[in-house]
């Protein structure tokens, strides 16, 4: 039944219907708790898309989700499910903090590449151990990456409380980064300041995220390594027979995946909070899973899905602010999207199959 669906239906309709199902169930949930789904939707749309100011927040979330979404798809293409994006992103934040606090940076154009290196290295390092254990010791990467999320969170708490916290400060956070490392927001960029007339959190890292989309596409579909990753993900036995090293593919895919998750920290840690806080990634690592599934494992899809989830997150925050509906609604929607696109996708396909089959029969 699966292959009978036309390709465009599989790419466009399956995620769309999954989204509609998730939205429908969320609406029913809202009705059940006596809230108005229409009010929720209008609040979300005006609060996330209504003004350039709102877009400034939506695009800020989008930037983070592009990075974590790309992180998940690179691993997915190698047949690996990296749930550790959350931990890798937080470790990336540690890398950013260490770089930014190391020297009094004169200008952001110097600080950003160095911070990117720090973020990518720390994120990749946190993915390297589970990857190594998977290929060499046969431990399941899903479980180890989950464990590393918790170990990473504990490590960050320790670093913030015992190492990075300035003397006399109560809250567990690092010192503020030097002004020279502060990234320009869209409001401060020439040209964009005409649209974004107020200060917004979306910053210059948005363009790096877009560039990363293109680079991941080039990597996966235009390089030898990308071919090996995809071949290994489709059939590890066939790939092995063709002389592709499982060790190399797993390590490279996971290192890139971890580096991408770590890179999201240039957006939230360096671009927005400008110091390292506890739980800096705020679940963006997990949203990467939803973004990757919704984006059908393609960088362009990731971009679109990240926009959608950026809308969902900013809109959800507005709902929490202006209505009586708790902000947690967005976690429900996020969970439902993952459920329908990632686990019940077969059900959606079967439903679509019923629509497409009769038409085929007529044609034949």
């Amino acid at each position: 039944m699966m292959d009978r669906l036309p390709r465009w239906a599989d790419v466009v309709l399956v995620p769309l219907i999954s989204l509609l199902l998730a939205a429908g169930i969320s609406a029913l949930t809202l009705l059940a708790i006596g809230a108005s789904p229409m009010e929720a939707l209008t609040t979300m749309v005006t609060g996330a898309l209504g003004t350039p100011y709102a877009w400034g927040y939506t695009l800020y979330y989008t930037t983070s989700f592009i990075f974590t979404g790309l992180s998940v798809i690179v691993a997915f293409h190698a047949g690996l499910f990296n749930i550790g994006g959350e931990g890798q992103a937080q470790l990336g934040g540690l890398g950013v903090a260490l770089v930014c606090l190391a020297v009094p940076w004169p200008h952001w154009t110097l600080a950003l590449p160095a911070a990117m290196l720090g973020a990518a290295l720390f994120g990749a390092a946190w993915a390297a151990i589970p990857a190594y254990l998977q290929v060499r010791r046969g431990s399941h990467i899903v479980i180890t990456t989950i464990m590393f999320n918790y170990i990473g969170a504990a490590l960050i708490v320790y670093m913030l409380v015992n190492v990075l916290r300035p003397k006399g400060q109560m809250d567990p956070a690092s010192a503020h980064f030097p002004p020279g490392s502060n990234l320009p927001t869209l409001h401060e960029l020439p040209g964009f300041s005409l649209i974004f007339t107020k200060q917004v959190p979306a910053n210059v890292t948005l363009f790096i995220a877009l560039l990363a989309c293109w680079l991941v596409w080039v990597l996966l579909w235009r390089t030898r390594m990308g071919y090996q990753i995809r071949a290994f993900g489709k059939s590890d036995k066939a790939a092995r027979y063709a002389g592709i090293s499982p060790f190399k593919v797993t390590m490279v895919a996971m290192l890139i995946s971890g580096a991408l998750a770590g890179l999201m920290s240039i957006n939230n840690v360096m671009g927005e909070s400008e110091r390292l806080l506890q739980n800096s990634s705020e679940g963006a690592g997990f949203i990467g899973i939803a973004v990757a599934l919704m984006g059908r494992n393609h960088p362009f899809g990731v971009f679109l899905a990240a926009l959608l989830f950026g809308f969902l997150y900013q809109g959800g925050a507005e709902i929490g602010l202006w209505t009586s509906i708790p902000i947690e609604l967005r976690i429900v929607v996020q969970g439902l999207v993952i459920l329908f696109t990632g686990a019940l996708d077969q059900m959606v396909r079967m439903m679509l199959g019923l629509v497409f089959r009769p038409r085929k029969a007529e044609a034949a």
């Binding site: 399941h140 464990m147 170990i151 609604l329 969970g335």
Partner: protein, 322 residues
Amino acid sequence: MDYATLLQILDSTLRLGTPLLLACLAGLFSERSGIFDIGLEGKMLMAAMCSGAVAALSGSVWIGLLAGIAGSMMFAVVHGLASITFRGNQLISGVALNFVASGITVLVAQDLFHQGGRTPALTGNARFNAIDLPFAESLRGVPVLGPFYAEVVSGHSALVYVALLAVPVTWWLLYRTRFGLRLRAVGENPASVDTAGVSVVRLRYAAVGIAGLLCGLAGAYMATGLQAGFGREMTAGRGYIALAALIFAKWRPWQALYATMLFGFLQALALRPDVIENIFGFAVPIPLLDALPYILTVVVLAGFVGKAIPPRAGGEPYVKER
């Protein structure tokens, strides 16, 4: 550390280990049948909210318990549908259900009670109260064992004893009944079970259902036994610790008891930094203690302490031959 302090810590070990044990056994049933269950956390959370809310509304902890089990079961059924009927990705289904639970519990609790996503504090019959085992007071005078019996073994709520009892019951079910043999077989080689004329789908649904029941008990214990009411995210990663314990125990019931009690002990120790400092002579960072269950699990997974081999058919949807 004196004996009284040790008893205190062992007492909290048992209390903190109980939800881990119940969730771990839940995972054991599910994974032994070949269905990975990352969603222990979500089912527990759902059960905690349902039981806390219904116990608060009805004033009866037993009705609360039933509601908790029902809430957990609902999620178990969705997980079963996704991973058995529709042959979806079991890991993704579990992750998704955890998110849904995390959000929906707050939504419902906030709607019902308007207390920031918490349920009101439970008192009296709306909570599982401590049961004093017979002779606890009269035997207290017996050296060493008397205080141990009175302090550690006695004085827990009913669900603690249910959890402890669930260990031999699980062992008996798995290794001494026909159902258990089939359950283990379906997790290793479902095709052979199918060939023998036993329904793979029914067995797996049964296992997922048992997991739902046990997670329901675990969550209800969290909200009505360990604490007095539901609070947002109150399970705080316990489902994942239970998963870690399950691997640590290599998917076996008695070892699950030892593993969860070890992790419960670590949690109890983390609550008493003064004691740790006394023993080691220096302050062990609390984050290290928090992370220890996960570090230990990674060490086990890496195969440094014996090899943890999961059920062979775990995570693979079964497609009947046509």
